[in-house]
């Protein structure tokens, strides 16, 4: 029992997001550096507990960062680099899910829901305007109300 927890702790410590991801890269230009940051933040470290390759100190993350750096230097486009990675590590490595049949509802679900919300809104407003009257107090309730207001003001 304890050894299992030890193991889990040990594994999680090996692949924590952290600082060993601090490396000095010599970028060709500011744009290259921007692209590197964007790409390494949008790719998931395959071995870690939910961290981008930009921030992980797992060896595989370091390898992948180096690969991204080299490919940028070679002049590959962002799309080419993304395709390169996902054909080897699966779509799992992409934090920005591709738009496929399988992810259609992921990307469009919220918009559809918003539409449904607006339709509901419209329906509620129409309902509220057509023939719904104000809640009116009965005379007995009016009396109670009056008594309470009077006693309040007597304080």
């Amino acid at each position: 029992m304890m050894s299992r927890y030890l193991l889990i702790i040990a594994i999680s410590l090996v692949s924590l997001p952290g600082f060993a991801a601090i490396e000095e890269y010599a970028f060709g230009s500011d744009l290259d550096e921007e692209r590197f940051k964007k790409l390494t933040y949008e790719m998931r470290c395959p071995k870690c507990l939910n961290a981008p390759i930009a921030d992980s100190d797992a060896p595989i993350a370091a390898d992948l960062r180096a690969e991204v750096f080299n490919q940028i230097k070679e002049g590959r486009s962002n799309d080419e680099i993304i395709d390169f990675m996902s054909s080897r590590y699966g779509d799992f490595i992409l934090y920005r899910p591709r738009l496929t049949m399988g992810t259609f509802f992921l990307w469009f679900g919220p918009a559809l829901l918003l539409l449904a919300g607006l339709v509901t809104l419209r329906r509620m407003m129409v309902n509220s305007q057509s023939g719904q009257s104000e809640a009116v107090l009965s005379s007995a309730e009016q009396e109670t109300l009056q008594k309470l207001l009077n006693s309040d003001s007597d304080k």
Binding site: F19, I22, T103, M125
Partner: protein, 666 residues
Amino acid sequence: MIPELGNFTLVLALSLAVLLSVVPMAGVYRNNELMMRLSRPLCSGVWVFMVISFGCLAYAFLNDDFSVAYVARNSNTLLPEHYKFTAVWGGHEGSLLLWVLMVASWTYAVSLFSRSLPLDILARVLSVMGIISVCFLLFMLFTSNPFDRLLLNTPAEGTDLNPLLQDFGLIVHPPFLYMGYVGFSVAYAFAITALLTGKLDAAWARWTRPWTNAAWAFLSIGIALGSWWAYYELGWGGWWFWDPVENVAFMPWLVGTALIHSLAVTEKRGVFKSWTVLLAIAAFSLSLLGTFIVRSGLITSVHAFAVDPERGLVLLTILLLVIGASLFLYALRAPVVKGSASYTVTSREVFLLINNILLVVATAGILLGTLYPLIHEAINGEANMVSVGPPYFNTIFLPLMGVLVLFLTVGSISRWKKTSLSYLKQQLAKVAIASIALGILLPLVITREVNIPIFIAVSLALWIVFGILRDIQVKTANKGNIFQGLFSLSLSYYGMQIAHLGMAVIILGICLTSHYSVEEDVRMAPGDSIDIGSYQFIFEGVTRQPGPNYDADRGEITVLKNGDPYLTLRPEKRSYFATGAVQTEADIDVGFFRDLFAALGDPRGDGAWVLRIHFKPFVFWIWFGAFLMAGGGITAILDKRYRVRDKANSRIADSGKTADLVMESV
């Protein structure tokens, strides 16, 4: 002995909680006043036993009792005293104990601060909260008991608390977070009660509001603390990653915000009643869902507790019971609580409804994104797993929030039932022009760059701020002088404006820090320096420093501002003895307008090291804004209407009737 006492008091608490779930509720249906009155002492009993139990676990930690398995897994003789105490909630079992203590505390608090509640309402509310206690006490006693012993093979030394948790953040983040999570159970209990009685009136809304505000304020602080902790501890300069664990705390907060606004409408106008009930159920349901997801082994996250799926199954059963049954009850009983007032197309009601729709859609989007990898795998099989990360969440969330901010100012300045468009135009036209103009000019002049996202963000933030000022101006226009005017406004009003101001501050903090942060990863030898803006960072070197339960490499970085000595940053790289884990501790100089951040990378030989230096402007505003929001929520609770009306309500309560009193608008 003490651990046994701790375990025994858990059992006692469970017994009383069972009575609490059953007796008062039975008393309501049998019209038995004694049974209903038992609810208060039962609450006290549960709370007392939970406090004792917690105390026993704390005692075990402080005395290095490694015969308690949980203590052995999360502590160490060398661990500093204050961390020995906070280690109580450093793992699954102990944090669950804290959770249940919170449930007991909120239940007890409701029993204390409810003089104006009719007895039959109180009895129902406390019974529902008792059921929640029972569920989690059963879960704890049967699957996750913190008092399990290692009597045969008592280790001489513990495994140590995870170094990431040996930090101030652990002291504050979970307690505040759980206060928030669990606090929504009060609104939940009130909602169930409303469905059971069929009565949902202004009085009901007024009872529920302070509790909801309090829970929401705690949750705001809890989330902010978690974000701040991640920022300086994990220290990649990031403070939000849309990690599943962050999302499950954020979703109840979003729904809680919708709930607060919906409650306002229900109280003032008696409409949106069934929406309010549904939101109250949803807020707590999302809290429970969060508890489940984090503890069930369902997702991968550095933050997830190391728990097995068998416990997950028990938690899921609790969820099905609590959430499923309440949503089913809602489906059956919601029509009974229907409201009947009317409102026009441009009224405060409608703007608040739009606000709520946007918040709910945002929540649904986050839920969808968080669970989607699971859903995709269930439908499409294991072969092609997908990940959903910040790019998705930012794309969905940020535009919705932008639109929400547009409606925020309009909504807060508009009137109930009917607000003419020309009135709105008259009030807000100048505000709009000023916001957009300054939103573009200020960044342009200060940074001399064209940055569309910044223009939008600053304009939106100014839209809120100027809207607040305009509204105060309008509301104090007919008073004698400005001070009289400000005095005449209620605390509830100020609470709203402070919270909205907090929102503006957060928007600025997030956008300014995202766009204007500067991050440098450089190899530096002693004596080397780099410049960021008006700051110069000079690397002096690294020395070896011992700590209580670790050894550290400490770097020294002298910072000059405009050439003059300013401060020193001392980042560390620590090796903990017990686990051998290596952990980097960044040094951050926190300022109101900017953070300066330094961290050590790896040594490069000859005394040279790789360093990460960040300049992060306005990042503090993110947490400052959240605290403002929480402050606004608490301010609103202090409003006298929640105290003065108590007298009238007590009379009504005693007379056994609940009348729909006509409310004046703020």
